[in-house]
Symmetry: C2
Subunit: 503 residues, 2 copies
Amino acid sequence: MTPPEAYQRLIRLYREARLLESISNLIGWDERTYMPTKGSAHRAEQMALIARMVHEQLTAPVVGESLAAVERTSVVAAPESVESVNVREIRRVHDRAVKIPAALVEELARVVTRAQNVWQEARHKNDFPAFAPWLEKIVRLKREEAQAVGYDGSPYDALLDEYEPGATAREITAVFAELRRELTPLVGEIAAASKAPRADILTRDFPVERQQMFGQAAAAAIGFDFAAGRLDTTVHPFCSGIGPGDCRLTTRYHPREFNQGFFGILHEAGHGIYDQGLEPEHFGTPMGSAVSLGIHESQSRLWENQVGRGGPFWEHFLPRLRQTFPGQLDDVTHDDFVFAINRVARSFIRVEADEITYNLHIILRFELEQALVAGDLKPADVQGAWTEKFQQSFGLTPPDDARGCLQDIHWSMGGLGYFPTYTLGNLYAAQFMDQARRDLPGLDDDFRQGRFARMKQWLNEKIHQPGMRWRPRVLCEKVTGKPLSPRPLMTYLRQKFGTLYGI
Amino acid sequence: MTPPEAYQRLIRLYREARLLESISNLIGWDERTYMPTKGSAHRAEQMALIARMVHEQLTAPVVGESLAAVERTSVVAAPESVESVNVREIRRVHDRAVKIPAALVEELARVVTRAQNVWQEARHKNDFPAFAPWLEKIVRLKREEAQAVGYDGSPYDALLDEYEPGATAREITAVFAELRRELTPLVGEIAAASKAPRADILTRDFPVERQQMFGQAAAAAIGFDFAAGRLDTTVHPFCSGIGPGDCRLTTRYHPREFNQGFFGILHEAGHGIYDQGLEPEHFGTPMGSAVSLGIHESQSRLWENQVGRGGPFWEHFLPRLRQTFPGQLDDVTHDDFVFAINRVARSFIRVEADEITYNLHIILRFELEQALVAGDLKPADVQGAWTEKFQQSFGLTPPDDARGCLQDIHWSMGGLGYFPTYTLGNLYAAQFMDQARRDLPGLDDDFRQGRFARMKQWLNEKIHQPGMRWRPRVLCEKVTGKPLSPRPLMTYLRQKFGTLYGI
């Protein structure tokens, strides 16, 4: 078999594994949108079977042989060619997969499918003890996974690497510490400011069907293609890119709360625009895949916050919002509205947090899950540890588990190592947007007129189309000319909220 | 490996194949309910991959070895034991599967996924020529399949056998001929009758959301468990049993037409009650599977027609229907309504046909698809052949393809050999119901009071729980004490429509 033939075989096998995985994504979407409650046990079996098959396919000896037959040949001579990138990343995935026993993969898939149902029920009933045994199972299995994969620094790195290739707990800790040093006093200044937004504007009568209609129109306006996607309702919003031509957004609504539904949609649409921007002919290969969760999150944050929570955006959309909810916003000026959607407050729920305190929510989770993975915190003690840390960071005591340690789906999905990518996303988003404003003068005028094509095009070219050509940090340097830094985010936050709050 | 060990291995492998297939059912459901239009090509790839994997699993040498190691041993000593039934049926499936080349299986899965989209579009545009090349591909592949599988009588038998194990075109032709001899004059008598139902009753204002609410309540009343299932909207209604705790019904509505939506739901709920009545611990094995499509159809027909189109049923439901559509049915008596939902008329659309002419629609399709499979009819000539046969049977000319040869999804799904099971279902339904009335005196009183538990329980025990223990015809004899016969159906039709039309 010649090296080019070995490469073709490698790509065929890898694509098949990703095709299988895309089926798993689809039935995972169904699980969280339309599956009847009694279907959970059977779904867990389906998920476990696919997880095992994907793992078998990724770890098959023929994959290792194909890699060996193509590495260090002329096929991968050019360092950033399609072939080189694909081989480099498949090698990474293959090496990781072979270290994890098949039984562990299957067990994890089965446990997390059931655990999500238990979590949903426990959250509904504010009953952490009902979820604790499942969290314990998951933490045990993820610790096993970390040991199997191996690590240089901390076991947490082995899990983090799956979501953010190359990142380490140590380096994230340093960045987050710097961020916290600046964010905490900023939150204090804002709390002490003499100006405050009108609290009543966003808790009026917003019928769900109209929220859905308005949100869908906004998602379409910024560039999400609904002929190649959908928007549905779920408990914990997510975006799932199934494959070329099929990307599913989800959100949740509250009939008397505007922010949750709308910014949820904008956020997920940002993810969706990334997925829809990947090159379809590279589907199932690294060149047609997202770089990392941090970069993925930068795309959702950019549209949700940098664009969607900005004044220019609402010059276009506020008149339309008034039409959608007749009479509800007649007494509200543009400035009132923009201030209201940017209200900063210490609060309990991460996904409803403002752009500043959001990061403090992440840091809390990052610290807790490091302790869980290190074995320093028992899963059964998470409730107490959460409360303690929350009091330290926010000066508040969560009134119940749904507004405390049960609010997020991630741990029930086995997603330990996932949370820090959210704040990385905020950092990347600010840095990308800073660059986009330099590259595209007059961007705010576009937004004022409801035009988002230049912005989307820029993201398509700079971020989406390169797939995994570069690792996250390299991509950041390629796009912005600078390494990742908390500066752009802090500058953006200080300027924006300084103006809003007059500080 | 001991015979009991070989049996365990066999069951494990077979269950896995069926688990994979249940994933394919789920993503097939999604394809026809929620998939965005641009997702079709990717879905075809997903379906083809699973089809190939199922086929690989069913034909794996280890399955053949396990079968050989358990057949003619003490494990299968008792002829109708769980083990014997499972081994017998897995042998049948394995032998069939090994005869069909993997490439053909994969190609068929890919072609039919795309073809369904083409069909939907062509039907919408009344454009048979757009669909013809796809029909040609499908007929060619199905003919290849028939040759690969082999047959004694006609190649059609090889395809029919997949849906109705053991049935032959020859024996069905004989039964259908007898049926047609009796049905054709009956249709004539009815057309000449002096009584006729009021035509306006069912074409009033029936808002879709209320139809859905009412239909869902009726499905729940007859025993479909919505905690283990759903009801959604689609172009061509179907029921898909995904697995224990998960069964999906679909229907379509017309805002000024009652029958289509409601009886569609009742029909699919009948299928669903069968699927929900299978033994969950036998999921994925023949003992936990439906006997045949003919028997499956008997369950939908029984609830739709024998129960749902009967007078007693509407003594309970008509008052509720009046409440659901206030003002719409004030001038309609119970007898008016029951007559209206049983109106007999020569018409174009099979799924909207009455209980009598329905079977003539099936006979037409049965004859056409036999000719296609035999190679006597070219796929491109189906449009003309359809029109000619329709004129012969119904004395009418289809005004367009949507009301002619493009009305059904089946051929686009590769389902040649499927249609006759519908009329077999009608025959079985009448014979089962006849027996149920003997076993359960006062059944109509149950229905008058909206009680369906005894009926459902009887079906659960007699038909659903035995799984594939007996082949369809044997099951019929076990349940009714008699071989399948057109007599019960003809007696039922003559009596019911004789009374309604006063003939």
